[in-house]
């Protein structure tokens, strides 16, 4: 019987989701506040002029513990419960890019490969010899290289861009699933409780069945 449950669990871990064709860079999301705070700062500077985060409000940022002065700087005269709406109108975006830049609230959950995809995509820009910028991960992209990866050759600067991308994606991961850490914390208690409960139920069952001859 134990064999069955172990194999059941093993089978369950085989995800039906196949990874994207292009090789993604391995990426580990940072869940500590300083990284997320740096990430939102970088995002406001590099992404927010075109991209919405309609499911994240300034109040959410304040509750998370982002510096209040920074929040007030970003939101200007908008109320605290306003979403992080981009500075660009949909019409203006249509004119410049012929499409509305996608909302970023769920971006790390909305692509195969998740956070690693977004990270690899941000760093995936390169210049062809004839000076055209392309992206390894998403060749059809219309987004201009936001972090300047394609034009930077200096090693130290490239590392700096990597760090920025890392922080931005860490923030986006929080934005896509703000209760994730709470879920894990609660999960350990729930699983712990269930393991003890199941052990007790096993002994109850054993005790009751021992009455049978």
């Amino acid at each position: 019987m134990n064999k069955f449950f172990i194999s059941l669990m093993l089978c369950s871990f085989v995800s039906p989701v196949w990874s994207a064709e292009a090789m993604l860079e391995t990426f580990k999301v940072d869940t500590d506040l300083p990284a997320i705070a740096r990430g939102v700062d970088d995002l406001m500077n590099n992404c927010h002029s075109c991209h919405n985060l309609k499911y994240v409000t300034y109040l959410d940022l304040a509750k998370l513990g982002i510096d209040r002065q920074k929040i007030d700087g970003w939101r200007g005269d908008q109320p605290m419960d306003a979403p992080l709406a981009s500075l660009m109108s949909d019409e203006a975006a249509m004119q410049s890019f012929n499409l509305v830049p996608p909302d970023l609230s769920l971006m790390t959950k909305a692509r195969e490969g998740g956070a690693s995809y977004v990270y690899s995509y941000l760093l995936g820009y390169y210049n062809t010899p004839d000076g055209v910028t392309h992206n390894h991960i998403f060749p059809a992209t219309k987004m201009p290289d936001p972090l300047g990866m394609s034009t930077t050759t200096d090693h130290a600067q490239r590392e700096e861009i990597r760090k920025t991308a890392h922080d931005i994606v860490s923030f986006l991961s929080w934005a896509a699933d703000p209760h994730e850490q709470e879920r894990y914390r609660l999960g350990y208690y729930v699983i712990g409780y269930l393991v003890i409960l199941t052990l007790l139920l096993y002994f109850v069952k054993k005790q009751i069945w021992s009455r049978l001859k």
């Binding site: 069955f4 369950s12 989701v17 769920l106 959950k109 609660l186 699983i191």
Partner: protein, 418 residues
Amino acid sequence: MTNKTINWIDRRFPFSSFVKHDLTEYPTPRNLSYWWNFGFLAGFVLVLQVATGVFLAMHYKADAGLSFDSVQHIMRDVNYGWLLRFMHATGASAFFLVIYIHMARTLYYGSYRAPRELMWWTGQGLLLLLMATAFMGYLLPWGQMSFWGATVITNLFKATPFYGEEVVTWLRGGFSVGDATLTRFFSLHYLLPFLILGGVAVHLIALHTVKSSNPSGIDLAAKDNIPFHPYFTSKDFYGLGIFLIVYCLFVFFLPNSLMEPANNIPANPMQTPTHIVPEWYFLPFYAILRSVPDLVGGVVAMGLSVMMFAFMPFLDRSRIPGGASNRPMVKLGFYLFLINMLVLGYVGATPPSNQTILIGRVATLFYFGSFFLIPFISKAEERWLIKRGLPAELKELMEREAREKIDLPPHRRAGDDK
């Protein structure tokens, strides 16, 4: 509760006799293995789905313009809304997993044999209702995969003779999947679980009439039956604990592994996803659909592939009870069929290529072929096993069964002569 109260109730409602008949004195074979836990687990998941669903419906908005946002509202703002939603979404997968194991057990031990045909057929009806409920529920988040999954599946009704287009339009409430489709799917998604509850009641009444089968396949003598409570209540609760551990691992640590990334993008009728896949529990049937080059043929094949199980009591011609525990061919066939299901599932999950189409067709042929061969194989296997010599207790039971068949009143009664 005092005796007085119970007496008062008993004079008006058969409470005590119900508890006695169906719980404390309900005779259950003592040799049931843990594979017999899954019926109870299915009932538990059903209650869990209804309970979480009722609370989700309090915060969900069935409106093409609002539903995606309302799901995010549940995930972010509603207190423990994320927990409710992940429990409900994971619960759907858990439901199918439990039901498939429940069905596999029935097939393995031949529990569908007389006198349990009605249990098997009510179960088949419940499976169809479950599939319909799951399919409709999947539209509600109004993501890309919701929208395109519903578009593909409702499109299959084009196969209806003469009125194909009209039926599709009628089902969707418009020429394409839209707000009307969403609201009707929500309404039905809330209704069908209660039909399932009714079906479960019928399933259980049938069960308590014919009683549980058991791994030996032989109806046990009274001394080998034990009361359901406390023996099987304690066993079921222990099994429930194991189930909950696995379930909660997914709810708390891997909830997104069961969700399609594309469903985190709001439905967009102007943009088809590159690869439309159903949830894992539909993959084998989806593979069969795609294996037939013709739309009508594919739909018929897919419908049949789900319904084939209902024919099992007729297809299995062997009189030897106990399924795989007494019949080596059943055991072999069962595992081959299971592997074939996994192959079909793999084919259903991958984008069609020449290679996977070929594999899918072979697996589809094997799927139906195994059902069509069962009458011949089971008959031949019976002859072979009898020639080899059956254990005495099996022989005795088969003789008893044969006698009882002769004792049955003939199908045509005296008054029917004309």
